[in-house]
């Protein structure tokens, strides 16, 4: 009778071990949030949201330009990522072709795994080099490419989920197919598509690497979309590797703001669909 007991012990032991693994996996989350609050809370004040950075060495100042810059970059990225992503997603879901959708789906998933710094180099070669200057446009372009595969794949999967009966009902009324898609199919998939968009926004809001040599950063308000522009992650990076204690504090505070933006986007994505759908990753 000893063998069944050993087997049961092994089973319980592995249950315990895997539970331990789950705890260890969660641990960094707690540590990171604890240190964010502990180190950043003291520098989290209204200056952060309203002031420009002070010149090197002077204490105080804020990150207002970087916060606005990040929002502008996200907006520019959406101009590229949303239309192409949603239309392409509709194509993937609706096409009766076999090979092209497979290829596009595959390339989109691969593109999703391309390191963001490589996307930055691409944006540099096709936009910064011809324009001969770093610009908000180049940064938005790079972020848009990162956004594209996420929006594309989420839209595809959501459009597939729209019940055929809805489509049939609309088609039976004699409405052209394109109108059915725009007025019936897409609106009924809207919640899920918004989820995909918010997930994509959460991802690009924190991207730093592709902005290093496209948007470049700026210590002042930007002077137009063809000029370098500040971004919150860039500012955090610059402050983190600087030698000044005050800047370190501001980097932590900036990180709280950035995490806040990312979490708002992620939680909004969950609330919209109430957990009915998990987005592409």
């Amino acid at each position: 009778m000893s063998r069944p007991t050993t087997r049961r012990l092994v089973s319980a032991g592995m249950g315990l071990l895997t539970a331990l693994a789950a705890v260890v996996v969660i641990l960094p989350l707690i540590l990171i949030f604890a240190f964010l609050l502990y180190k950043g809370a003291s520098a989290l004040n209204s200056d952060l949201f309203t002031q420009l950075p002070k010149p090197v060495g002077e204490p105080g100042g804020g990150m207002a330009n970087a916060i606005v810059g990040s929002l502008i970059l996200i907006g520019l990225a959406a101009c590229l990522g949303l239309p192409v992503g949603i239309l392409g997603g509709v194509y993937l879901a609706e096409s009766r072709d076999r090979r092209l959708p497979w290829l596009v789906r595959f390339l989109a998933d691969v593109l999703n795994g391309v390191p963001s710094i490589v996307i930055g180099i691409f944006a540099y070669t096709v936009i910064v080099l011809p324009m001969r200057r770093f610009s908000a446009l180049a940064g938005g372009f790079a972020l848009g490419i990162i956004m594209l595969p996420i929006v594309l794949r989420t839209t595809e999967e959501l459009v597939r989920l729209v019940p055929a009966s809805l489509r049939e009902a609309a088609l039976a009324l004699g409405i052209p197919e394109w109108k059915v898609i725009l007025r019936v199919v897409l609106p009924s998939a809207r919640a899920g598509i918004i989820t995909g968009v918010m997930v994509a926004v959460a991802r690009i809001a924190g991207e730093t690497a592709p902005l290093l040599f496209t948007a470049f950063g700026n210590r002042f308000w930007h002077g137009g979309l063809d000029q370098p522009i500040a971004a919150l992650p860039l500012q955090i990076f610059a402050y983190a590797i600087s030698p000044f204690d005050d800047w370190h504090r501001q980097a932590w505070a900036g990180a709280i703001v950035l995490i806040g933006m990312v979490l708002v986007a992620s939680v909004a994505a969950r609330v919209v669909t109430r957990g009915r759908y998990r987005p592409a990753r």
């Binding site: 693994a21 194509y91 595959f106 390191p115 730093t208």
Partner: protein
């Protein structure tokens, strides 16, 4: 009626789908989809074009020489390739057992009420931006390694060449650890989806034969989802290879090949991040872009393989789960 059938009826029987609007709309969506294909092609062409001076000047030697001297314009990428490979492998070594364990717990063994909250926390972890990990790495992880972990490792395991040398805090060990922390939620999430896609009949069959929960998991679930799990690990590897900011902030940024994990290193992504805007000559810039091209080729290969594996395991076919 299936969606396909409905569409067939709409276009053939009813004569819909033939109007100008329909054709135009179809062209538009097709163009958007083709745009993704064109984008990938453009990525390759533009970067290869920009890397051309370096490709011509150094050829294959670029990969196997370790001199990185912008003044003399001699460039060899070996230290960066080494740093990327070692930091990523170190990350996998730590991350794979943890994330597979956590995924198995979440998909198979955990009591149902605890699964959703933990999965949510892991998704939060995946949403933290790289630069925030880097910030935490510089000011929390690296000092902790310097004052506690590295002296201890040096005392107990110092006979191994891996754990010799002065404890800087920043270096290969810090980079591997921060990468591990970053890819764990990612591998866990994909692996969990692969496990959830394993049909219940597999579990029921094993349980019906008298297997315990763990035996069921090991023999019926893990074996069935094996290729998908390998895919999940490869997706994590792809992330680790290309991860830039956090690694740049903690690896120490010195283009040297050192056996010790305590020593500073450099990775392909971080040399691009650090030196791209400082590249003064065309050849220097081309050499950096060639590193980017190399990184691109490697991550595309890893990701392509990973996606095919995950797709074949059914993890890519996501469904609505109430």
């Amino acid at each position: 009626m299936s969606r396909e059938a409905a569409l067939r009826i709409s276009s053939k029987t009813l004569g819909a789908g033939q109007g100008v609007g329909d054709r135009g709309f179809r062209l538009l969506t097709r163009a958007a989809a083709l745009g993704v294909t064109a984008l990938m092609a453009a990525l390759v062409v533009a970067m290869a074009w920009a890397a051309l001076p370096s490709l011509e000047a150094f050829g294959w030697r670029f990969l196997v020489t370790s001199t990185w001297d912008p003044v003399a314009e001699t460039f060899g990428a070996l230290p960066f390739v080494y740093g990327t490979v070692v930091s990523s492998l170190l990350a996998l070594l730590i991350a794979v057992p943890l994330s597979l364990g956590a995924a198995i717990y979440l998909a198979e063994l955990a009591p149902p009420w605890i699964r959703q909250p933990i999965a949510f926390l892991i998704e939060l972890l995946a949403a933290i931006p790289s630069v925030v990990y880097g910030l935490w790495g510089i000011f929390v992880l690296a000092p902790w390694l310097r004052t506690s972990v590295q002296p201890a490792l040096g005392t107990w395991l110092g006979f191994l060449p891996l754990f010799q040398g002065p404890p800087y805090g920043v270096g290969m060990l810090a980079a591997g650890l921060i990468l591990a922390i970053m890819i764990v939620p990612f591998i866990t999430a994909v692996a969990r989806e692969v496990l959830l896609a394993v049909p219940n009949a597999q579990r029921e069959a094993a349980l019906a034969l008298g297997a315990t929960r763990w035996e069921t998991t090991r023999m019926a679930v893990l074996r069935y989802g094996r290729s998908g799990l390998i895919g999940a690990v490869l997706l994590g590897l792809g992330r680790a290879l290309g991860e830039t900011m956090a690694v740049t902030m903690v690896i120490g940024n010195r283009p040297e090949i050192a056996l010790s994990l305590f020593a500073p290193g450099y990775t392909m992504a971080s040399v691009i991040a650090n030196e791209f805007t400082e590249a003064t000559s065309d050849l220097y810039l081309a050499a950096l872009i060639e590193i980017g091209l190399l990184l691109f080729a490697v991550t595309v290969a890893v990701n392509a393989l990973a996606r095919l594996l995950v797709w074949s395991a059914g993890g890519g076919v996501r469904e609505v789960r109430e």
